[in-house]
């Protein structure tokens, strides 16, 4: 593979997948040569109720470290940078052939599915898995990763020491992990990773196209539940049968609450939510319990009961449950 002939992606040309992996087209030559590699990992979009969550990694040869430090001075925690600056830096990372990068996009649909299955996967577990997949991906490219610095939301992921221990164990102790809350500000490679993650998350939202026919409401603000624009989006786009478009994380409390407690909604929203219907599916264990069983009706003889005498005045079962009365006298209707 000749790096010269491959044009690196830029913010404007990069195609962010709805779900899955996006990575640099080339592996840095120094990494390919088998030099010791350091990598950084960061995530973007943990909080929002809308859109994908992204995990980014950036890696390079430790031998290139000083040179990169000197030439990429501006790389910093992505949250400290403006959108414009971040895009520019992403272009520079992508163009710098000493640096390799990869981004794992976890779509809102996947988050919903993982977190709402019978045995739910927590967001932390999703995050841990994505982190491991990214590192494995870099290893698969032939990189000899010896150091990794991971930015972690310490308050949510838990104790950084035990998190780094788990990661160390996951890679048989071959990689030295550093997990720190502000790793993206402390380590250049984590800062670069955070830029990759954030740029991809922003692009995936900005260029979002709905699969659902008839849905084209892109006025959702930041996607954070605290953003009034996002709250208004949630109110506008709830569907009586399907709930929300795939763009929404159904497992997030604000989305769940809106689908569940229609009664607690203010009156002006009730019209919307009145259509959301709670469905109770038949208890699965009852089906299981009755599985492979003979039926009573195979043994006892069934006969429809004969109707004797005049028609009953009692309410039909369906009427009983809906509290309906049959009116026989027209006078009652008028």
């Amino acid at each position: 593979m000749d790096a010269e002939t491959i044009t690196p992606v830029t913010t404007s040309t990069v195609q962010v997948p709805i779900d899955g992996l996006l990575e640099s087209r080339t592996t840095p030559p120094s990494v390919r040569r088998g030099e010791a590699v350091k990598l950084g990992i960061d995530e973007a979009g943990r909080g929002p109720v809308l859109g994908a969550m992204t995990f980014g990694t950036c890696y390079w040869s430790i031998a290139d470290d000083d040179a990169i430090e000197a030439s990429q001075k501006e790389i910093d925690d992505s949250k400290q940078l403006t959108d414009e600056k971040r895009s520019k830096l992403f272009d520079r990372i992508a163009a710098d052939e000493r640096m390799g990068w990869a981004v794992e996009v976890v779509s809102a649909a996947r988050i919903s599915a993982e977190m709402l299955q019978v045995k739910p996967t927590s967001l932390n577990a999703i995050s841990f898995d994505a982190t491991c997949r990214l590192i494995q991906r870099v290893l698969d490219r032939g990189a000899d990763v010896v150091e990794a610095s991971v930015a972690a939301f310490v308050d949510t992921v838990g104790d950084p020491d035990s998190y780094s221990e788990r990661l160390t164990r996951a890679f048989d102790g071959k990689i030295k992990f550093t997990v720190a809350k502000k790793a993206d500000a402390l380590y250049k490679c984590t800062g670069a990773a955070s830029i990759c993650a954030k740029v991809c998350r922003d692009l995936s939202i900005a260029r979002w196209t709905y699969d659902e026919p008839g849905v084209d409401d892109l006025d959702f603000g930041s996607g954070y539940p605290s953003d009034p624009a996002c709250v208004a989006w949630l109110a506008r786009n709830v569907h009586g049968v399907f709930g929300y478009p795939n763009f929404c994380r159904f497992s997030w409390a604000p989305a769940k609450a809106r689908l569940r407690d229609t009664d607690t909604q203010p009156d002006d929203l009730k019209a919307q939510f009145g259509a959301v219907v709670k469905v109770d599916f038949d208890a699965k264990d009852e089906d299981d319990a009755a599985a492979n069983s003979m039926k009573i009706t195979d043994w006892a003889t069934v006969s429809k009961k004969k109707q004797t005498g005049p028609a009953k005045k009692k309410r039909k079962r369906a009427h009983f449950y809906r509290s309906l009365e049959s009116l026989t006298e027209l006078a009652e209707v008028c």
Partner: protein
């Protein structure tokens, strides 16, 4: 019209409580010989049959046979309003829309009246075959309840096998297996604890523990339970009501179809 008084409201309460989780809606058929209810669970795997003869009641009058379509959980809620030693009187007009339920305390100082709305239930009536069972087991009902509970810890399906030596309950589940064997023993100190087995040939059948669990809600009704089995037909778990040996007064019987081998 129909009118019946039962000395102990608590007996009726226990009866309905023992049925309401298995069957939601049922027709109680009232005739001059007494009251009975027959209903299948929603999966048609089990059948409950309640028979109350007139001699169970202090007072029983039924001019014409009536069918009372009852929502059993609701009936149970009303019966919960009875005092411990209250008597209960049930009343219904022919083709009436309500069942009237009156509780009276022992000294008749307190009288509470309730009405339960009836409904028209299209239930199939079942002809229960006159089955000969080759194995019958009589044992303590609380012991049976405990075995079912213990089996449920390990799995969903319980095999009940009976041989000359005794009756064996077995369960195999994801976390392991369990076996409980009771030896035939008619000469224990406490009459209620005796295990009496009458058997023509060994039999072993598999049953869903979920339903056996529902059946054991009848345990407070009677200290003894009668279990009857034959190959390839439903097991019968029967509780006598009132005097435990007098089969005449009334009974609550559950039928459960066996599981079929998957092979």
């Amino acid at each position: 019209m129909f009118e019946a008084t039962l000395n102990k409201a608590s007996t009726l309460k226990k009866l309905i409580d023992a049925i309401k989780d298995l069957v939601t809606d049922g027709n109680i058929e009232v005739s001059e010989t007494g009251m009975n209810l027959q209903a299948m669970d929603s999966s048609h795997v089990s059948l409950v049959s309640l028979v109350l003869h007139t001699d169970m009641f202090e007072h029983f009058r039924c001019d014409r046979a009536v069918t009372l379509g009852i929502n059993l959980p609701n009936f149970a809620k009303i019966l919960k309003c009875s005092g411990n030693d209250d008597s209960v009187t049930l009343k219904a007009q022919d083709d009436g829309e309500n069942l009237s339920i009156v509780f009276e305390s022992e000294g008749q100082e307190r009288v509470s009246e309730f009405e339960l709305k009836l409904m028209d239930i299209d239930a199939e009536s079942l002809g229960i075959p006159d089955q000969e069972y080759n194995t019958t087991i009589k044992m303590s009902s609380s012991e049976f309840q405990r075995i079912v509970r213990d089996m449920t810890v390990l799995g969903d399906t319980c095999s009940i096998g009976c041989t000359k030596e005794g009756v064996k309950f077995s369960v195999h589940g994801d976390l392991g297996a369990g076996h409980i064997t009771l030896r035939s023993n008619a000469s224990v100190d406490k009459e209620d604890e005796a295990v009496e087995i009458q058997m023509e040939e060994p039999v072993e059948l598999n049953f869903a523990l979920r339903y056996l669990g529902f059946f054991t809600r009848a345990t407070p009704l009677c200290g003894r339970v009668n279990i009857s089995m034959s190959p390839d037909v439903p097991i019968v778990i029967a509780y006598h009501i009132g005097d435990k040996d007098a089969e005449g007064a009334g009974s609550l019987s559950y039928y459960l179809a066996p599981k079929i081998d998957e092979e």
